[in-house]
Symmetry: C2
Subunit: 224 residues, 2 copies
DNA sequence: CGTAAGCGGATATCGTCAATCCGCTTAGCT
DNA sequence: AGCTAAGCGGATTGACGATATCCGCTTACG
């Protein structure tokens, strides 16, 4: 779905380089976010900038190509969650799994969090995901496992709330964000009142300080 | 504490302009965050850039001057909270009030959130605040009103989690972040299992979309 | 082996921000 | 009233970082 039906198929070295660029982009977007430059990507791929610009008009094109597939994966997770019979597990699985994906891929997080990013195709997938979340929440509420004043849009804000935690602790204590997700989920569920065991210990104040200090900058620009 | 004991006291117009600059800076830092330029501030104050640079060597100097007082206010809130006899109220008052301050002042939020910012004086205040939080949490745990696996550093991350919510909803639905604070607090408290009534309704999906789309950019730079 | 396709990367272009400089104005003293 | 040091505005300079192009050299492949 990526190759055009042109007569000449593209020289072998050219398509190798194209793959290299895509790999490098995947890696860098995941690690540093969408802010990385095409130059960075080219260098990382071991090719010249010129090559990068010959294959992709600009960074956006690369992003759109790459993240359509990632977003579809998120959609798939939502659909799988809807197959889960237990409504609480369904909702938390969705949250846990998508946050995990976002944790491993800063670019994905940015794309999910900022509807401004991405082309029509990307928006398409986003549009398909929204109603799935609505359904997940509806089921959980109908089953009475979630407080009745919880709403689908709360899922969105929840996810964006985890972002700064992920960013500041990614290198030092990877799973800490799950700790806060747990607090949140315990504040949402209505089935019983035992606390969920926390999946990660709290950070010491020293580590917390380091985390805040060395927080990676988001790297993305745009608008005034 | 701001006037030097120099012989010549400073011309009247000069000190008027200085005040104007400070006012403008307070306003812009609060509204747009620490990323605003001295040029912006000068224009907002209705004076030339030259004047700004004559009064303050650079933006940092202005920030340090302005935020020492703001941070002291945060410290005061923590001390007041410690006077509160009920440990749960003490802890939540602190969180609620400081988040409210941060909500009204993006610059304050940035300073609190990023220990890299600010000079020695600022760090001084920060250092004085930390043990107060430790004490607030200790009391709450001793009283058994908070789950026993909650730790002081959790307060820090909590605050930074609220940031993206504040930023994206500030203009559209000012108090929504309190909704998420409530979810979180309900996930933390161990006294009973009634849910706290949510202080703000959920956002509709349309408004949520708008919020995410028009999220103000953080405006601050620094490092690679 | 000829040549169109591809390549690298130096470089032009643009935008943003910090900071300076200098000709003009004015407060405040005598 | 007149003088002058202090202050003023804001155009301008310089540093930087990112995007995107251009062109002389290399290489795949018919």
């Amino acid at each position: 779905m990526t190759q055009a039906p042109s007569p000449r198929p593209m020289r072998k070295d050219a398509s190798i380089n194209r793959e290299r660029l895509l790999d490098a982009a995947r890696e860098l977007f995941a690690e540093k976010g969408l802010g990385v430059t095409l130059n960075d990507i080219a260098r990382h791929a071991g090719v010249g900038v010129g090559t990068a610009y010959r294959r992709f008009a600009n960074k956006e094109e690369l992003i759109d190509t790459l993240f359509e597939e990632r977003l579809q994966a998120v959609e798939a997770v939502a659909r799988e969650a809807l197959d889960e019979p237990d409504p609480w597990t369904a909702l938390t699985d969705y949250l846990t799994r998508t946050l995990q994906m976002q944790f491993g891929d800063r670019g994905l997080h940015q794309i999910l969090d900022d509807p401004t990013l991405g082309d029509a195709r990307i928006n398409d997938v986003r549009t398909r995901i929204a109603p799935l979340i609505v359904e997940l929440v509806r089921r959980a509420k109908d089953a009475g496992v979630v407080r009745s004043d919880f709403e689908p849009t709360d899922v969105t804000f929840m996810q964006s709330a985890m972002a700064p935690i992920m960013d500041s602790t990614r290198d030092l204590a990877p799973q800490v964000y799950e700790r806060y997700l747990t607090f949140f989920l315990d504040g949402i569920r209505s089935d019983d009142r035992t606390f969920t065991p926390l999946p990660a210990p709290a950070l010491s104040s020293e580590i917390t300080h380091t985390a805040m200090t060395s927080r990676r900058r988001s790297t993305s620009r745009r608008r005034a």
